[in-house]
Subunit: 432 residues, 2 copies
């Protein structure tokens, strides 16, 4: 008999269907048992008496099974149906119980157990929901950019020199020569503006930061965008807003059940996201956080939270751009504000009071790069190839990068970024 | 004045427009000069007399310029138009000529020069065409799989043990512990079949093979697919055929000018790609290549070429599946053919007589893995996490991987795979 997917069963009341998937749980209630079978799409409940249940033999939860049965309308069952008069068949037997019980609430499973046994624990309905939302976000990201003529690129992950400064890179033995894992596609996406004007990349980046926090991982997925022929960073902010709108729209359209399962909702994104200059932000913060903040070169987490609340109250917005961060806290390729050269044409996008995206305009003249490197005491030699692009005509350009896992962390209000990664890599974890 | 993109100029005959882009070439013909300006989309020709040309100053080819002029119909010009009565403005000056002349034929530029100066040489129209076709192929790949309910995943690139056997891995210093760059997402995509049934990944893979050939690179982009609940490898071959159809359709739909520029065309893909068993292939080859081939465990390049020609003549197909390769030449996770256990449920897809894709059914029972590892003298310990998935219920499954650059190499009949990579990594090349 042809297989029916779990989500299609509700449309087959009165028919006999065959569902295949994983035996998520068996609840024995006296004379009958309730089985929950999960496939890639969802779950189906089945009812069996002991004689029929005997076909399972010693098969434990998570065995792969086929359940053939009659579809009956049962309002209190998942999707309002259950299978009765079932015939059970074990396709692939699990001989022992799963290392974590998938019927449990995810929040009740300790994080180390979840991560140690991720190969099975990723089957948790809530885990699956997070990853499906991540996949939808990537689809929305690409669709928004494809529609505007951006070209997808793939940059090298093995590089000769650290992209974003010398620390926190993983060293690789490249046929006996030293190499590093790329910390970002920053330099390559800029170079590629010289080729296609508008490019994006979705790929892994590697940060050897020895931090053990709920917000740090050492490999993450970076959604990188760079575009040429801009006027200033406000063009980049407008582009980011359109991209986020595409991501949120795809999540909302494709993942309603997943959002419901996680108790999350897709936030409103205003037509024009409010923005304020870094110096204005400090003015605002001097009241609640004290005059000393005026001397700070960056916003503190407390400052960001306060501004997030302020944007919520003032503009009814979960989103706030802060522009014009001091040049000294930004990387060498940052474009200064010609009218206030100590401030940059950069921005952070705060979402509910936490930084989600960083971006800005970059330098585009060769001479500006040489001056910027000299001012920072950096040698141009390790990035000679990158600088070659600027010797041969580069337009004003800028871009941004969205960390996919950070996006999920904040969108879904997860307690730990590791929950947004299939198989996280951190200070102590290289497996599974 | 608002910018007009090069490809939109032809629709503006009689109007004055502003085009911005790179000054690709200046040809001086006595009293007038012909300029070619290139933007992300294409090129536009402009005509200027010496007085107007003076605005360029010392700006060399590849300077970023704005050309404002009247659009005139000129049949022999690119897109049938040229700009006259122009005003020129230098936006970003290139002070020296480009390291490779972009007006040249790509084939006339030596490969080392092309690769050493890739940051500029990627601007070559033919190079851009190759990468645009690659981006279209990725779009087609994802669209075909999204439409069938596959979930996109991102797997770790830093791993504790070599995926495909111990040799040819890059070693990484992971916070003082030894780690390796993943040679493929093979084990992770199989694990994820246990979560979503159907998954795909587009990402970099790393092979430390010390080969210096026109077909080898050490980082490439792998388009990986894995699907559960299959009957055998023929389900995987059918899935691959649908995916390739999607890739080719998107390339044909989106890249007609690029294909024309490269003199390539998208091949027909038969509704059902012809297939033959490995043993049948050897039977056929014994005639032309000699009886000794019957003892071979694999097909030689000469054998593949002969079979490609045969498929062309016999089925009018550029494509041919060869199935049932001997188990001893396939990796440990390969599923044997139960009726001929020395042969596998695997396949290679030949395209015009060269292997393009490898795939097959995998083992799915825990006991089968233990037996397969023992038979090969491999320890289960380094892949304990992977094996855990099979202890807890995995369905019959299989998959395949398409190397994006290999696909472009063969589709476009390129002389060297490095031409299909933005910034290739090979035995000697770590930069740009």
């Amino acid at each position: 008999m042809e297989r029916v997917r779990s989500v299609e069963v509700a449309a087959r009341v009165g028919q006999r269907v065959r569902v295949v998937g994983w035996l998520q749980s068996v609840r024995r209630l006296g004379a009958i048992s309730f089985l929950v079978v999960r496939d890639g799409a969802g779950v189906v409940q089945a009812v069996a008496d002991p004689a029929r249940l005997a076909a399972l033999g010693a098969a434990q939860a998570e065995s792969v099974v086929a359940v053939t049965g009659e579809v009956c309308a049962v309002p209190q069952a998942p999707h309002g149906v259950e299978l009765r008069e079932v015939a059970l068949e074990v396709i692939s037997e699990a001989a022992e119980p799963p290392p974590v019980q998938l019927g449990k609430k995810l929040a009740n499973v300790p994080l180390p157990a979840l991560l140690d046994h991720a190969v099975v624990a990723n089957r948790f309905p809530q885990r699956r929901a997070i990853f499906r939302i991540g996949a939808a976000a990537m689809r929305g990201f690409r669709a928004a950019l494809d529609a505007e003529g951006f070209v997808e690129i793939q940059s090298p992950k093995l590089v000769e020199a650290a992209t974003e400064g010398g620390a926190h890179v993983f060293a690789v033995d490249y046929f006996g020569r030293p190499a590093y894992l790329a910390q970002s596609p920053q330099l390559y996406k800029q170079i590629m503006v010289g080729v296609f004007e508008r490019v994006y990349e979705v790929g892994p980046v590697f940060r050897a930061e020895p931090h053990d926090t709920a917000r740090h991982i050492n490999q993450y997925t970076s959604l990188d965008v760079e575009l040429g022929f801009i006027t200033d960073h406000f063009d980049v902010m407008a582009q980011l807003t359109r991209v986020l709108r595409g991501m949120l729209a795809e999540v909302a359209a494709a993942c309603a059940p997943e959002l419901a399962l996680l108790g999350a909702r897709v936030p409103e994104l205003p037509e024009a996201v409010p923005h304020l200059h870094f110096t204005e932000a400090l003015e605002l913060l001097a009241g609640p956080l004290g005059e000393a903040v005026r001397a700070e070169p960056d916003l503190s987490p407390a400052g960001e939270r306060w501004l997030g609340q302020w944007a919520r109250e003032r503009f009814a917005s979960d989103w706030l751009f802060v522009t014009g961060y001091p040049m000294r806290k930004r990387p060498f390729y940052t474009h200064p504000d010609p009218e206030r050269p100590e401030h940059s044409r950069s921005f952070d996008l705060l979402f509910r009071g936490t930084e989600l995206v960083t971006g800005g305009q970059r330098l585009h003249r060769h001479a500006s790069y040489l001056a910027a490197l000299e001012a920072r005491g950096m040698s141009p030699a390790p990035i000679a190839a990158y600088l070659e692009a600027f010797r041969h005509g580069m337009p004003p350009h800028g871009g941004f990068a969205i960390g996919l896992e950070r996006f999920l962390l904040q969108l879904l209000d997860l307690p730990n970024i590791r929950l947004a990664v299939l198989f996280p890599r951190d200070l102590t974890r290289l497996s599974p």
